[in-house]
């Protein structure tokens, strides 16, 4: 029995699927000086749900994401992950609009940044290789970031976010800087790993059609408050130009453009 346990610890299954974290925000406000960016957000996200937050620039959507990531503290209100208000830093991973890879480290070492708390070098390398395979970059471990294309860099950034098997993945306009075709490929990739692994995902985007393609639920943020909470109950994978999807997209766009 004990031998069995030791054995399992020393050869961990590298393809881990996790249960998503439950996210709960209660009365969250955030002010910078006199400027109130978020005014009383109440929000409950179920484990494993894919939520998209859309809104105009400056509506507070990125600020909200940074609060959930723990990069900033709310001015008032509480944020809890699985009923815990502290100590969940390692459960959450954040992906940025820019890849933010360390240019002086090769791809594998960049992915291993996601494993800051693991000290075994060999296991770091193995896990980085698995994560790279998952994002379709097997064999690129020794490349410098400077030789990668924009889409490949974002794939590495995704591998870095996933390598520690987070239970909540936050994406801050992760595809904003990519060309149209690469965007579609990345959307499919993100949807696939989300389905395989089962983490909770929150993506901030200004692209409503991207939100409809990816999310179970779309929140429209305006002036620091949730204005619209739309469930997207469509089968996956979703086809672009689908009638029901277009209807949801139109409804949200109308609200955004205040028509």
């Amino acid at each position: 029995m004990s031998i069995d346990v030791i054995d399992r610890v020393s050869t961990p299954d590298l393809r881990v699927s996790v249960t998503g974290a439950e996210v709960k925000l209660q009365g969250v406000t955030k002010s910078f000086g006199d400027h109130r960016v978020l005014r009383g957000i109440d929000l409950a996200i179920e484990p494993g749900q894919f939520v998209a937050i859309v809104g105009r620039s400056g509506c507070g959507k990125s600020t909200l994401l940074r609060l959930v990531a723990g990069l900033d503290a709310p001015t008032s209100g509480s944020i809890a992950l699985d009923q815990q208000t502290t100590g969940w830093r390692d459960v959450v991973r954040l992906m940025f609009q820019e890849s933010r890879l360390l240019p002086w480290q090769r791809v594998a070492a960049n992915v291993a940044v996601g494993l800051t708390h693991a000290h075994d070098r060999q296991s770091q390398r193995d896990q980085a290789a698995v994560a790279l395979r998952e994002v379709g970059l097997a064999g690129r471990e020794n490349a410098w970031p400077s030789v990668l294309s924009g889409g490949q860099k974002q794939r590495v950034a995704l591998a870095r976010a996933l390598v520690s098997h987070p239970r909540l993945l936050l994406l801050d306009e992760p595809l904003g800087a990519l060309d149209a075709l690469t965007r579609i490929e990345m959307q499919e990739l993100i949807e696939r790993v989300w389905q395989q692994k089962g983490f909770t995902a929150v993506v901030v985007t200004h692209d409503v059609s991207e939100a409809v393609t990816l999310a179970d639920r779309i929140l429209l943020l305006d002036d620091g408050a949730v204005m619209l909470d739309v469930p997207v109950d469509l089968p996956r994978p979703r086809r672009r130009g689908d009638r029901e999807a277009a209807a949801i997209e139109g409804r949200i766009l109308d609200r955004l453009l205040q028509r």
Partner: protein, 251 residues
Amino acid sequence: MKRVLPWLVPIAILLAWQAGSTFGLIQANVLPAPSAVAGAFWRAARSGELWTNIEVSAGRAFLGFAIGGGIGFTLGMLNGLSSLSETLTDSTLQMVRNIPHLALIPLVILWFGIDEEAKIFLVALGVFFPIYVNTQHGVRSVDPHLLEMGRAYGMTKVTLFLRVVLPGALPSIFVGLRYGLGIMWLTLIVAETISASSGIGFMAMNAREFMMVDVVVLSILVYAALGKLADSTARLLERTCLAWNPVYAKV
């Protein structure tokens, strides 16, 4: 062919110089022939005098460099990372920076006499500022996005420094290093020429007293070679450490 081309002009100059000396167009007491300089080199190398002097000069240069560069690097890092430290020391350092360090020679001679300390002090002072300014600038110019990423991924302060700040500041630190090396030789030449009883500068001044122009020219060439050697080493180091940067990788 490409490797030969850069050498054509120096070789032509050398040949013209030799020819000018042989046919009496250049007087030997103004500029000795290359063959005479080579002869001086051969004599100084055989007697061991040349190597002892190079050793003494290089020792002074690198000791001064280590002291001045070390302090400059440490203060540059501190002032780049901590605004309190910067507020306390930076304006003072910038004031001192505007004094040409060679202007301190009379004062330095009063303080240390003409001993080793005087030369090492001058070299350290000269090297300090380029290393300090460039290290501080390097730390300041590290991409704040990368720092935020490091914090979001749970890096400790030490890890953040070693994996993000230091490598990010390195290209700028290398600029300071190469600039500092140039100042190091320049300062040493001046210091050794003014007062020394050993070293390349002493060799040159001593030869001047006996009108041995070939040894004077030899000393100048040795300084040039040492400077070039130090710069090439720094460039090699730069290429190795900054291999990730396409700007350096191709040079």
